[in-house]
């Protein structure tokens, strides 16, 4: 399926010819760049001239960052603050890429499976790196279960459980965003006037909830590898 109208089509068609990739992948790459530029400009604007009494865009960004930090501390405890940059980056990037799809002419990068897989693999790798840093060799105990003579069985179950995490993170975000795009496109084909509007309203809800869930699960996975095995 090719999106009917995209305003960055001219870049993505060039990229498509250059890299020999599909249309959707090229669109995802171009709109990921757009999101990166947007977020970069926003953070530059917010931190360019910082004041003690914030106003305007600095005020808004402080509210956002404060909310995310409160959530991190609530879920992971005070020692989770050192993982705040990773979590907040993921959350803000995913939220903005979800929401950008609601504007006509934009393609949400998270509706492509490669973007969501990249985010999920980052979470997967960082959980294990955090666990290895925290516990060293004893991190292996996380995989062995509570009873020593069940350890060989538990090991394989735990490994499968850990490998299913990036798969479920990837497919959840991708399925939600891609499904929403599909439903919108089908409604648009059937009845373009006012009928897709309730679906778009639901899209706002889905965007926020999926970004929240991704953030929450990333926090819970990192917290799980931080705590002691029992």
């Amino acid at each position: 399926m090719v999106h009917p109208l995209l305003f960055l089509q001219f870049i993505s068609s060039k990229l498509q010819a250059l890299l020999h990739i599909g249309g959707e992948a090229a669109n995802a790459i171009v709109y990921t760049w757009l999101v990166i530029i947007l977020l970069f400009a926003l953070s530059k604007l917010a931190t360019g001239s910082m004041k003690m009494v914030p106003s305007g865009i600095q005020n808004f960004m402080e509210v956002v960052i404060d909310g995310v930090e409160n959530m991190v501390v609530e879920t992971m405890g005070p020692h989770g603050r050192s993982y705040f940059p990773l979590i907040a980056t993921l959350a803000i990037f995913i939220l903005v890429s979800n929401l950008i799809g609601l504007i006509p002419g934009f393609y949400p990068p998270t509706a492509n499976i490669n973007t969501t897989a990249a985010c999920a693999v980052i979470v997967f790798l960082s959980t294990h790196i955090v666990g290895l840093k925290q516990h060293g060799f004893h991190y292996l105990k996380h995989f062995l279960g509570p009873i020593w003579w069940l350890a060989p069985v538990m090991f394989f179950i735990e490994v499968i459980g850990h490998l299913s995490r990036p798969v479920s993170l990837t497919l959840r975000l991708f399925g939600n965003m891609n499904g929403h795009e599909l439903v919108l496109m089908i409604f648009f084909g059937l009845a373009p006037f006012l009928v897709p509007l309730p679906m778009m309203l639901m899209g706002v809800l889905v965007s926020f909830i999926q970004a929240f869930v991704f953030m929450l699960l990333a926090m819970i996975y990192i917290h799980g590898s931080l705590e002691e095995a029992h």
Binding site: T75, L171, R172, F174, V213
Partner: protein, 91 residues
């Protein structure tokens, strides 16, 4: 021709069966969460977070069904074989 109609049938039936269980599960989860909040409104924040995680976990089952249906409809691995067989039948 019947291959493609069967594909569409499989996607529809698969999606329907996939959503039955998910809907039931999410309904139970939300009903218990509402019960918990009405008994102890002070704990609504924690209950909301836990419910969200549970709902996301349950929802991923329906998303798996959706992804499989999408693969059947749009990225069917046996499409080329079916088209080739159709061409030979047409000849």
């Amino acid at each position: 021709m019947s291959f493609f109609s069967m594909c569409i049938l499989a996607a529809g039936i698969g999606m329907a069966l996939g959503t039955i269980g998910t809907g039931l599960g999410q309904g139970f989860a939300v009903s218990r969460a509402v019960e918990g909040v009405s008994r102890n409104p002070g704990a609504s924040g924690k209950i909301l977070t836990t419910m969200m995680i549970g709902l996301a976990m349950i929802e991923s089952l329906a998303i798996y069904a959706l992804v499989v249906s999408l693969i059947i409809l749009y990225a069917n691995p046996y499409k080329d074989i079916a088209v080739k067989a159709l061409e030979t039948v047409a000849k």
